[in-house]
Point group: C2
DNA sequence: CACGCCATTTGATTTTGATCAAGTGCAAAG
DNA sequence: CTTTGCACTTGATCAAAATCAAATGGCGTG
């Protein structure tokens, strides 16, 4: 299923890409050395402070990105300000909606992050010529779709307690793909963001955190650092039996 | 069923596909006459009664399908029976999750429907050889992703009233792609299904229907037939300003 | 026609989570 | 070391939707 470039050690690959690809294996993995060089000519890396907007709802898409480091949240807002986080992207996810000029969502750094930007038209051209690249993007879209549907069940049918536990489980399993130990991690989102992700208020989120803490499902230090003594127990609280 | 020949220059295309493709333009539109003939050799059409399961959560995927007629609901269930509809597919949508052998969802006919089935391995082989086909599937996945994210906002942040209005608006705009007049249609789902789609109970759905009826936003006959005198007004009730 | 079987509606009550309103704790600025 | 500003927590109350419990209203069958 996974298709890897054979010439992974080829020295024609741009230096900046070599480290990245080795660590992450994002969509760039579908490209030949020449294509990578070509793309790299037009691409640029950027640091994003927490809260920095990558693209706004309704704006014209000029760039796609790869997330190198950090967490990016995808949000939708209603006219009256109600807001829902519709996706979280972790490194090394591809960020962008191929084939549409206007973004239907806002993408914003949830933590300090680093991204690699490519101009839309350069990548679009490359996609047309590189079926393997479209395949990678297709896989990414399908992964996001699976995640979105999982989350729809959470939003529509779970209790506040289960929602919060589901969130913690999601973060535990996604925050650090390198690490084997998922039992300790920092939350990439504020209480307000967590509420927006879960379709709750910050007060309800806070109360559920307190409850989970009192029942020894989690421990919390400094509001952001979470320890999970028994991951299976957390999963049961999340309603994933 | 009588199938008319619509284009004398396409006489290599299987008769059964010619009418379908002309009417709908689904993913098969990406295929050459030969590929269509090849695929058609292995494909088969089926009528599905309301409630018939196309595939169950956790089952092995053996077929992909095109929906020829009707509405198919995609659902997820929790261990304790709580259920959430995570997608509705209308003709001529492609039905299936490429590149995964185990289905994460249940697909079930919401109305009497007709589908065209292709064996998974035949289509998978064809996808590898036909970038244009993967492109179509990619577009379909992105469309479903956009819809899923729209719905996440509805599930997470809208009131019961807005949810029901949003559902009616969704159906009005999707049920009959041919028709210009969206103001009258039959609901493809029972109250129970609507509740599962909206993350509500049937009682709440019923009450909101009654309220919308009393406020003259909609009229209902025989529980299933809906008339919308002012679509913009419905849209406002749905919170889509 | 009467009957039972559905799906749907309606009503009474309870529960959950939202809202409103203080408090707490911590870190940066004065 | 105070003050100020956040982010978060906690408590009291309120409202929306769930739950429990009957009705109602076709619709097909005996």
């Amino acid at each position: 299923m996974e298709v890897r470039r054979r010439d992974i050690h080829n020295s024609d690959i741009p230096v900046v890409c070599r480290a990245c690809e080795a660590r992450h294996g994002g969509v760039c993995g579908a490209l030949t050395a020449e294509q990578l060089t070509e793309l790299n000519k037009h691409s640029s890396r950027h640091r994003l402070e927490t809260g920095a907007e990558v693209i706004g709802q309704g704006e014209t898409v000029v760039n796609y990105s790869n997330i190198m480091r950090g967490v990016v949240k995808l949000t939708k807002v209603m006219a009256d300000g109600r807001q829902q986080i519709v996706g979280l992207q972790f490194a090394p996810d591809f960020l962008g909606r191929p084939f549409l000029t206007e973004s239907a969502i806002t993408a914003e750094a949830a933590t300090d992050s680093e991204v690699c930007n490519f101009p839309r038209n350069v990548l679009d051209r490359l996609v047309k010529r590189t079926p393997e690249l479209e395949h990678m993007l297709h896989q990414q879209a399908l992964k996001e779709l699976d995640e979105a549907r999982d989350w729809m069940l959470t939003l529509g049918r779970k209790t506040a307690q289960e929602k919060v536990a589901s969130f913690l489980y999601l973060i535990a399993t996604h925050i650090d793909p390198e690490s084997v130990d998922m039992s300790a991690f920092d939350l990439p989102l504020s209480r307000a963001d967590i509420a927006d992700f879960l379709g709750l208020t910050i007060e309800t989120v806070s109360r559920q955190f307190t409850k989970l803490r009192k029942e020894n499902v989690i421990r919390i230090e400094n509001n952001r650092h979470v320890t999970v003594p028994d991951m299976d127990r957390l999963m049961r609280y999340a309603g994933n039996d």
